[in-house]
Every structure is written in structure tokens, then in C-alpha cells.
Point group: C2
Chain length 220, copies 2
DNA sequence: ACCTGAACACCGTTCAAGT
DNA sequence: ACCTGAACACCGTTCAAGT
């Protein structure tokens, strides 16, 4: 379980009946749509409620204020991405280092880029209000999962693992974010993804003890 | 000269007298301060005007609406960053490839991280309203400057230059952005910067024609 | 338990009046 | 040429009334 959110951002109450669940789902979906319109300052509770097909009062039954809605939306989405990346990392414990990197970049890339629209909406909402704590928690989860995977790598020293975690994650997070926001043609994205994997792999190989290269040589 | 901005975002009029120039400066400064408060949705014209020590009416004399103010602020700042990077790129035409990379990363890093507060404010304003065109123009300027520098590199083939431009800039932009927003301790930042330069240099070296390594070997 | 929508305070924007 | 601040429309949020 991630840490509880601060009281002022907590959802006001949980839906109990089925139609209430549907209402909350509709509000989330509407929020994403509205966030993706040109001017994010048009993200008004009125707009969201209207698009969700409920009255403002209903929205305020579940979310104490606009920021709480944005917070819940980001939390929901970032949690899912973290789940996916954690699973992939866990599945690659003990794998050859280059496979680890490929898996990590791939998992994060897919989670973000495949739902490009949601990712962009969340990036927007994340700056529209202050979500530093939320993002920090997200980064922590991925950092922990990554480091624990890397620590299981054959031939990677402890200092090598530390150094690499410092640079690897900012590079991956940052590059993927750039792709989400620029949203270039598919071919360019594919090239960037390939190059990113290559870049990170090279970076990792520089940290391996000499003998450990063998684990890789057997592949291509 | 960069391309003209769309009519609806143009500043309403230019200050002519000295006190008017001071007024506009004060508005920019106040806007940055307000953008840096916890909740960016509190970026209200009332707040900005109050902090700048002028009345709302004055603000609206120069900026037709809130978004135009944000746009002008970003434009002003991004223009300065692009100027700096372009100058550094121009100064390194014909330099050894690894010096080029170091200079490029360094120039971009310094421009962003040294004025961390302004950079964060601009990142916020850039998503608060739709600034896709502004950002695209900024990227284009830096891409052009970078490619023209790299084309002058001894031993770099044309396809090598293209491939590297595709990956190099997203990685640098993305990583620096992560650092601006996380704002980790100085030591961590220094390490990330060092590693980023190393990463990009390695990436570049992989594209050089064999003989060209000599240009580097003579350094360390 | 859930939903509604009128009501109030506040912010974006305008404009008539001032120096 | 520049500045002011009251005025109007609209959005965030509440709450009394409904099923």
C-alpha cells in the first residue's frame, strides 16, 4: 500500500451502490477529456460535471474540491503504471543485464506511450496543482523496483548499481515524457525507443565486471 | 527573428515611456513568483497585478488576457535559453566531438538549472495553457543549432549525425527537465550532469568513423 | 445512499474616468 | 501615454431539498 494522501486531498466518500461507481468512473473519464482540450485552464468543475452527465453537486459529493479530483486521477493512473513496471522488474530478477534494461525501458514506454492521451492529461494535471509528493512516491516505487532488479544482475558491483540508478531513471523518465508531449510520428518514436534502449544498455555495460559481458555475448 | 505569434496571443501594446517598461518588468517578475506558489491555479491576474503593485487594468493594457501573459513570459525566457545554446554551438563548430557534446549539455544545463525557479515557472505555464507551437519553435532552434554543429564534426557521417540528433536532444531535454522539477541535492545533480555528458559522449563515439577517435584520445 | 440546482464569493475582463 | 477601480459574467463550492 502506498502512503495515505494528506487529508485535504482525500476523496470525500467511496461510492457504495453500483450507479455511484458508474458516476465516479464517468467523472474520471470526463476529467481526462477536459484536460486534453487546448487550454487546461478551461478545466472547470462545471465542464467536467456537464461532460460526465451529472450535476456539480454530485461531483462535490466525491471530491472535496477541484484539486482533489486531479489528485485522485493522477494517483489512480500512476499507481497502474507503477504496478506494471514493478511486475516486469520482478520478472527479470537474475536476467542478463541487457535484457533487464530492455524490459525496464519497454515497460515504462508502453505504459506511458500506449495511453498517450491519459499520460498527457496526467502530466498536465500534475503541474496544474502541486503534485510533488505524488510524483516523488511514484519515482520511489520505480527506483526501488529497478534497483532491486539490478542488484540481482550477474557481474554488477554495488557502486555500479548505485551510479546507474542515479542516471538511468531520470534519462528514461525524461525521454519518455518528451515523447508523450511532442508526440512525433510513429517511426520517429520507434527510433527513439530503440536508441534509448541502446543508450541505456551501453551505459550499463560500462559498469559490469569484465567477465559479465559473457552473459550478453550469447545473444546476438 | 522567430515567427510571429498568433494574433490572439500578441501583447496588446509595447511600453514607450520608461515607467511603462518598469511596469511590464514588474508584471513578469510577479508572474514568475505567483507561478511558483504551491497551487498554480492560484495564478490569477488579480494576484499578479497586486504583487506587481499595479491595478488589473494596467495589466490588461499590455496583455489582452491571462494566457497572453503566460505566453509572453515563456517566449521571453525560451528565447534567451535558445540564444545561449546557439552561441555555444556556433563557438564549437569543428571542435572534437566529445567537446561538442560537453558544451551542448553544459549550455543547456546551465541555462535551465541556474535559473531553476524561472525554468520551473515556465514549465508550469507551458502546460497551464497550450504552448505546443512555442515549444516546437524552441526545439527547432536548438535542433538546427545542434545539427549544424555536429555536421562540422570530423569523422561523423551524415546518417550518424541524423541518428544522433534524433536521440540526443530528447534525452538531454528530458533529463534536464526531470532535474528541474525534482530539484534534488546539489551533489546528486552534479552526478547526473556528469553521467549525462558521459552517456551522450559514448553515444556519439559509437557513430564516429574509426579514425576519428584520435581527436579525442589526445585529451585525457 | 445518492442526486439536484439555486445561491454566494471570487476571478477574468472591460471601460469610463482620471493624470 | 499611462494608470485606476467599479462593474458584469462566469466558475468554485455549499447546502437545503428531493428520490
Amino acid at each position: 500500500m502506498p502512503p495515505r494522501e494528506p487529508a485535504h486531498l482525500k476523496p470525500r466518500k467511496q461510492p457504495r451502490q453500483a450507479r455511484a461507481v458508474a458516476t465516479v468512473e464517468a467523472i474520471y473519464e470526463a476529467a481526462i477529456q477536459v484536460l486534453l482540450t487546448r487550454d487546461a485552464s478551461q478545466f472547470t468543475t462545471t465542464q467536467v460535471a456537464e461532460r460526465a452527465g451529472v450535476s456539480v453537486g454530485t461531483l462535490y459529493q466525491y471530491f472535496p474540491h477541484r484539486r482533489a479530483l486531479l489528485h485522485a486521477l493522477s494517483r489512480h493512473y500512476l499507481g497502474r503504471v507503477a504496478d506494471q513496471v514493478e511486475a516486469v522488474c520482478a520478472a527479470h530478477h537474475g536476467a542478463p543485464p541487457d535484457r533487464m534494461v530492455e524490459a525496464l525501458v519497454g515497460a515504462y514506454w508502453d505504459a506511458k506511450i500506449d495511453r498517450n492521451d491519459v499520460a498527457r492529461a496526467v502530466y498536465r494535471s500534475a503541474v496544474a496543482f502541486d503534485s510533488a509528493a505524488l510524483m516523488a512516491g511514484f519515482r520511489d516505487r520505480l527506483t526501488t523496483a529497478t534497483r532491486s532488479m539490478l542488484q540481482s544482475a550477474p557481474g554488477l558491483t554495488k557502486t555500479g548499481e548505485e551510479a546507474i540508478s542515479t542516471i538511468l531513471l531520470p534519462v528514461i523518465f525524461g525521454t519518455v515524457r518528451e515523447m508523450c508531449e511532442q508526440d512525433p510520428p510513429g517511426l520517429v518514436k520507434a527510433e527513439v525507443r530503440r536508441e534509448l534502449v541502446a543508450l541505456c544498455t551501453t551505459c550499463l555495460e560500462g559498469r559490469l565486471r569484465p567477465g559479465a559481458f559473457d552473459a550478453r555475448a550469447s545473444r546476438d
